[in-house]
C-alpha cells in the first residue's frame, strides 16, 4: 500500500456527490473499459464506499491498491486483475 494519493491511474472517475451505490456502480462500469493490468481511481464522498468498494473488488477478483482520504472525499485506486 502506498501512502500517497498521487498514485497514478489510467482512468480517473469523479463520483463525488453520487449516492450509494453510485460510486461503486461507476467503478464497475469503468473497470469494464480497462485492459487487464489497468489502474482506475474513483473519488467518492459516500461513506458507504469505504466498505462497498473493497468488498466488491475482492468479490470480483481485482486489487485494491489503496484508499486515500482527501478533503471532501476518498480516492480509491484499484488494478484490474482479470
Amino acid at each position: 500500500m502506498s501512502t500517497t494519493s498521487e498514485v497514478h491511474a489510467d482512468v480517473e472517475i469523479d463520483a463525488r456527490g453520487s449516492f450509494c451505490p453510485g460510486p461503486l456502480m461507476e467503478l464497475i462500469r469503468g473497470i469494464k473499459t480497462l485492459p487487464v493490468g489497468g489502474v482506475i481511481a474513483v473519488r467518492s464522498s459516500d461513506p458507504g464506499s469505504a466498505k462497498d468498494i473493497p468488498a466488491w473488488l475482492q468479490k470480483a477478483g481485482h486489487e485494491l491498491i489503496g484508499a486515500y482520504p482527501e478533503a471532501d472525499c476518498t480516492r480509491f485506486v484499484a488494478r484490474k486483475l482479470r
Partner: protein, 141 residues
C-alpha cells in the same frame, strides 16, 4: 440457473417511491456483488411499473407521509437517481430479472405491453416461490 443459488428475491408489493427506492438500491447492491436478483411485482408495486407511471409517482408511505415532499425535494436537489434509473443500472451490471404477478395483471386488466420495458415477463406466484426457495435472501417490500 446456478446450483448454489446465490440469489436475492424481492417481493415488491409497495408502489410508493420510498419503498421502490429501497428495493432498487438493494437490487443494485446484490447485482453488483454477483447475486442473481429477481423482483416479483405485485399489487401496488406492479402498478408503479405501468408505462410512464414512475415519471409522475411522488407517493410515499402513509406512516411517513409528512416527509414525502421533503424527501422528493432532497432527491431532486441532490440529483439522486430515480428508482427506475437504479434498476436499469442493476440490470446493466448483473443478472436481474423483473417479473409481474399474473394475478394482479388479470385483476387490473393489464398486459405485459402496458408495463415499462424493464419488466421481463409475467409469472405466477408458484413459479416465483419455486425459485425463491432456492435463494439465500427473500424480502417483502
Amino acid at each position: 440457473m446456478s446450483q448454489t443459488a446465490e440469489r436475492m428475491s424481492l417481493v415488491v408489493f409497495s408502489g410508493t417511491v420510498d419503498k421502490l427506492m429501497a428495493a432498487s438500491i438493494l437490487a443494485t447492491g446484490a447485482a453488483a456483488m454477483g447475486l442473481e436478483v429477481e423482483l416479483f411485482l405485485t399489487t401496488w408495486g406492479m402498478m408503479a411499473f405501468r408505462k410512464g407511471d414512475y415519471k409522475t409517482n411522488t407517493r410515499v408511505s402513509k406512516d411517513f407521509e409528512e416527509y414525502g415532499p421533503v424527501m422528493m425535494e432532497a432527491m431532486q436537489a441532490k440529483k439522486a437517481p430515480s428508482w427506475m434509473d437504479n434498476l436499469l443500472g442493476a440490470k446493466e451490471v448483473g443478472d436481474v430479472k423483473i417479473y409481474a404477478c399474473s394475478m394482479t395483471m388479470e385483476l387490473f386488466g393489464l398486459h405485459l405491453s402496458d408495463l415499462e420495458p424493464i419488466v421481463d415477463d409475467v409469472t405466477g406466484v408458484a413459479a416465483f416461490v419455486e425459485r425463491a426457495k432456492e435463494g439465500r435472501i427473500t424480502l417483502f417490500i
